[in-house]
């Protein structure tokens, strides 16, 4: 099937939203069509399949689709189609010693990204369907056009954001609270990180001060939040965001070496913003995949917790607020789930065999939104399959030094730390 026909089919699927599961036989059928298209249109992936001894036509189960390592995005352009025919290149972060270390995801068709990310975001961060101001601790998509995360939040803000006063159709100077950091243009709350100068502290403080009476959504990288928290704690800045406010944090799983545990991090977010722990959602995404994974903590609340009135501890974020409603605590028990057009396998890191539920393994995602590149991606992230999704354990640290031989990952980590 052609790219255009598959694209239409996928867009139709995305428009159904994420609430209803995609039945296995239909998913399988579509996944195999995507595989056959990609095997045909993507010479690099075709070569990979040939080396694995897999013929697209002979594959009958999506689980047998060859999963390409995520690092392949650092080595070759993975366009399924005319190599020159793409709308945008998203790049992973990180360069080392002048060597090309950034992965590049050539996106043939931004509509596939936009239309897949919006329903999933809405279901997990805005399940009530009420627009609100969205303040991003991220560079704006205009300032950092090759960041897939900035692009995503730009689209989200455009679709669901309001001005700080709650006005839905903001397009004026208020639209960007970033004091010049973001650019104007209908993004709602604003972007408060400059790609070079870092956090826009003043802009973000002002925006926080203006929040209310309705709820706001804060979104950003764990790294940026931690920067903010350190500053806010030093200065004694605390805000109590309007009831119903929420936080989406992401990117905090790059290495379990993160100095801060997740529990500490969430406790500090709760303290600094006065929101319950159950209103903090981790987003797990990667440049190499156009779809995202979220913890369904708010989504559950939006659907079935609304009228229960079980808001225990919500007004005291310090003590009990660490647990949100419906037992959505900040630590154990949380899990991630993807949208219906994504399936995740958990594989033994030594054998690449599927591991039983609950056991640690490598996450391999089949994301049909990746129609224009490669759908099956083997990550370096470790997790466990649980009912409803998977628990993310973290980004592999690679070969942490176990001896006195220089190990690739340890070397790169040391360089980053030292620079």
């Amino acid at each position: 099937m052609s790219f255009l026909r598959l694209r239409e089919e996928l867009l139709a699927l995305f428009s159904l939203g994420v609430a209803e599961p995609f039945p296995e036989p239909a998913f399988n059928e579509l996944a195999l069509q995507v595989l056959r298209f990609q095997a045909e249109a993507n010479p690099a992936y075709r070569g990979f399949m040939a080396r694995r001894g897999v013929e697209a036509d002979a594959v009958s189960r999506w689980e047998d689709i060859p999963f390409l390592p995520a690092r392949a995005f650092k080595s070759v352009a993975l366009v399924s189609g005319d190599p020159g025919d793409f709308e945008r290149v998203f790049r992973t972060s990180g360069t080392t010693r002048g060597r090309q270390m950034r992965g590049e995801h050539f996106v043939r068709d931004l509509a596939l990204y936009r239309e897949s990310l919006l329903p999933n975001f809405q279901a997990h961060l805005l399940p009530e369907g009420v627009p609100m101001p969205i303040l991003c601790l991220l560079p704006s998509p205009d300032a950092l056009p090759d960041s897939s995360l900035s692009f995503m939040m730009g689209e989200v803000a455009r679709a669901f954001g309001t001005g700080l006063d709650g006005a839905v159709d903001m397009d004026g100077p208020m639209a960007c609270g970033g004091g010049g950091v973001g650019s104007a243009g209908g993004y709602g709350g604003g972007f408060f990180v400059h790609p070079e100068h870092g956090l826009d502290i003043r802009g973000f403080r002002e925006a926080l001060a203006k929040a209310g009476p309705g709820p706001v959504l804060l979104a950003g990288t764990a790294f940026a939040f931690v920067q903010w928290l350190e500053l806010a704690e030093e200065e004694g800045w605390r805000v109590s965001l309007p009831e119903g406010s929420r936080v989406m944090e992401t990117g905090g799983y790059k290495g379990r070496t993160r100095a801060l545990s997740r529990e500490d991090f969430y406790r500090r977010l709760i303290g600094a913003f006065g929101i319950p722990g159950g209103h903090i959602v981790n987003e797990y995404g990667m440049t190499e995949l156009l779809s995202q994974f979220y913890e369904p903590v708010l989504a559950r609340e939006g659907r079935d917790g609304e009228s229960s009135g079980e808001g225990e501890g919500e007004s005291d974020p310090g003590a009990q607020g660490i647990r949100g409603r419906n037992g959505a605590g900040v630590g154990t028990g949380r899990f991630h789930r993807g949208p219906p057009w994504v399936r995740t396998r958990v594989l033994d890191p030594r054998t690449l065999e599927e591991v039983p539920e609950g056991e640690l393994g490598l996450l391999a995602h089949l994301d049909l939104a990746n129609l224009g590149s490669v759908a099956g991606i083997l990550t370096e992230d470790l997790g466990r399959r649980v009912p409803g999704g998977f628990q993310l354990v973290g980004r592999s640290r690679g070969a942490e030094p176990r001896g006195c031989s220089l190990a690739l990952e340890a070397f790169l980590a040391a360089l980053e730390e030292g620079s």
């Binding site: 070569g47 592999s396 176990r402 006195c404 031989s405 190990a407 070397f411 030292g418």
Partner: protein, 469 residues
């Protein structure tokens, strides 16, 4: 198996309730380790210092050699309980297979025997008795060499024996030793120190071995602050951490992580190509590639009877064979994660006509990446090696330039008449050891470890000058 008791203190140092806690970090077997409060660590270090000043400093070096040799011989004696204990615990705690653990123990313990130690002493000091008292030096001076009173050795990783070698070196120059080995190298220092207590209790009073996880919590920092010399085996991150805490008057010796390289000249690619490949495979496989000497990349010259691609295939075959005699150890999830990325990348490259990848599949981690146009870079370890073809070895030397601070051992074969020329070029790149692929895994005790004399790096000299004119 009972939990490994990951410490050995002098008998005078009483253990209190609560000093010892359990640790179980599967797949490693459980162990018990001490958690010493600040004042207890201070007492321990003071005790070591006293034992050194009152006993060790007056013992002749010959006696140290004798004691170490006796322990080494027991570790080599198949009937001895000490060896049995070592072998029972070594593999599981280091994450190495039992045959690998035994091979390593045999070679390491051999280097702690009398003949090898005397070789080390005479290589370092023309007159080793300079460690016992003043001896005539040059120009009429009387000279004496003595180690620092109290040394703290911070080990890392899972190459068994590295910590014991560090301990033995310090004892030879009459330094007391507090040793914190890496998690995977706990067994041998504890067993060795136990043997030392049995063979020469007086000498052993200057030795304490204690493992505890991590470096936070203040104990490592306290030890760094109270020692006279700190010896660190570790990555750049560890070294930076120690340097930041080192008092200005305290000496530091650093053995950093290294990037081993092999150079296979076209002279080694004739009829002997299979044996060259077997030697290279063994060098990669030993220590599961975690040694500082372990090669990460093999540059192979074109124009020989066997082309580099064909040689990479021979290497793969040899690595597969070694799985029978010297099986791989346990791969962690993190290591597996990276390995699968590299294998997948290799398959992508081979599938698109750039190079080839050979690997042990789900059963064995060994992986050979034949990478035309590839560059020198660290491997993910556990027997993953890159074979890079070069038109001339000069290209390899140029590529090594960027890794200068990480170079140490280079294994060479088939250089023909270019041996001296290549050795000189490698020297200028900062390489401190050039050897055959066959000998690569086992530097002799007297090697210039990272370019320094292993004992001379640990002593201070005193000169008594001749009376004036």
């Amino acid at each position: 198996m009972n939990p490994l008791r990951a410490w050995r203190f002098p008998p005078e140092f009483p253990l209190a309730d609560g000093d010892i806690v359990s640790l179980h970090d599967p797949p490693a077997p459980p162990l018990e380790h001490p958690v010493l409060a600040e004042d207890r660590l201070r007492d321990l270090m003071a005790m070591l210092r006293t034992a050194r000043d009152e006993l060790l400093v007056d013992l002749p070096v010959e006696r140290v050699v004798r004691a170490v040799d006796r322990v080494a011989c027991r570790l080599l004696d198949p009937g001895d309980e000490l060896r049995k204990r070592a072998l029972e615990e070594l593999g599981p705690h280091a994450g190495l297979s039992d045959p690998m653990a035994e091979t390593i123990l045999d070679r390491m313990a051999f280097d702690w025997t009398r003949e090898r130690l005397l070789g080390l002493l005479t290589s370092e000091f023309p007159d080793p008795q300079v460690l016992d008292g003043f001896r005539p030096g040059t120009r009429g001076c009387m000279v004496r060499a003595l180690g620092f009173p109290l040394t703290f050795h911070l080990g890392s990783g899972t190459v068994p024996g590295v910590s014991v070698t560090s301990l033995v070196r310090a004892l030879l120059v009459k330094s007391a030793v507090l040793l914190k080995p890496g998690r995977g190298d706990v067994t041998l220092p504890v067993v060795f120190a136990s043997g030392l207590h049995e063979e020469d209790p007086d000498l052993a009073r200057s030795v304490a071995v204690a493992y505890w996880p991590g470096r936070e919590g203040g104990q490592v920092e306290s030890a760094v602050r109270k020692a006279d010399l700190v010896v660190v085996y570790g990555g750049d991150d560890t070294v930076r951490w120690v340097r930041e805490r080192l008092p200005p008057a305290t000496s530091l010796r650093v053995y950093r992580h290294r990037l081993g390289v092999g150079l296979v000249g076209r002279g080694g690619l004739g009829g002997d190509a299979p044996s060259t490949a077997r030697e290279a495979a063994r060098a990669v496989a030993l220590f599961d590639q975690r040694g500082c000497v372990s090669p990460h990349v093999l540059f192979v010259e074109e124009g020989g009877a066997t082309d580099p691609g064909g040689w990479a295939g021979l290497l793969a075959g040899a690595l597969q064979e070694l799985e029978e005699t010297l099986p791989s150890g346990h791969l962690t999830e993190d290591e597996g994660a990276l390995l699968q990325q590299l294998r997948g990348l290799g398959e992508l490259e081979e599938g698109t006509g750039r190079g080839a990848v050979y690997h042990g599949g789900p059963r064995a981690p060994w992986t050979v990446l034949f990478t035309p146009g590839g560059r020198l870079e660290p491997s993910c370890l556990n027997r993953t090696v890159r074979v890079i073809p070069v038109g001339d070895l000069a290209e390899a030397l140029a590529d090594m330039e960027a890794w200068r601070p990480y170079l140490q051992t280079v294994g060479v074969v088939g250089l023909g008449g270019r041996k001296e020329e290549v050795a000189e070029a490698l020297t200028r790149l900062g390489v401190s050891r050039i050897t055959s692929l066959k000998a690569l895994p086992w530097p002799p005790p007297w090697w210039h470890h990272d370019g320094e004399g292993p004992l001379r790096a640990l002593v201070r000299w005193t000169d008594v000058e001749p009376a004036g004119p």
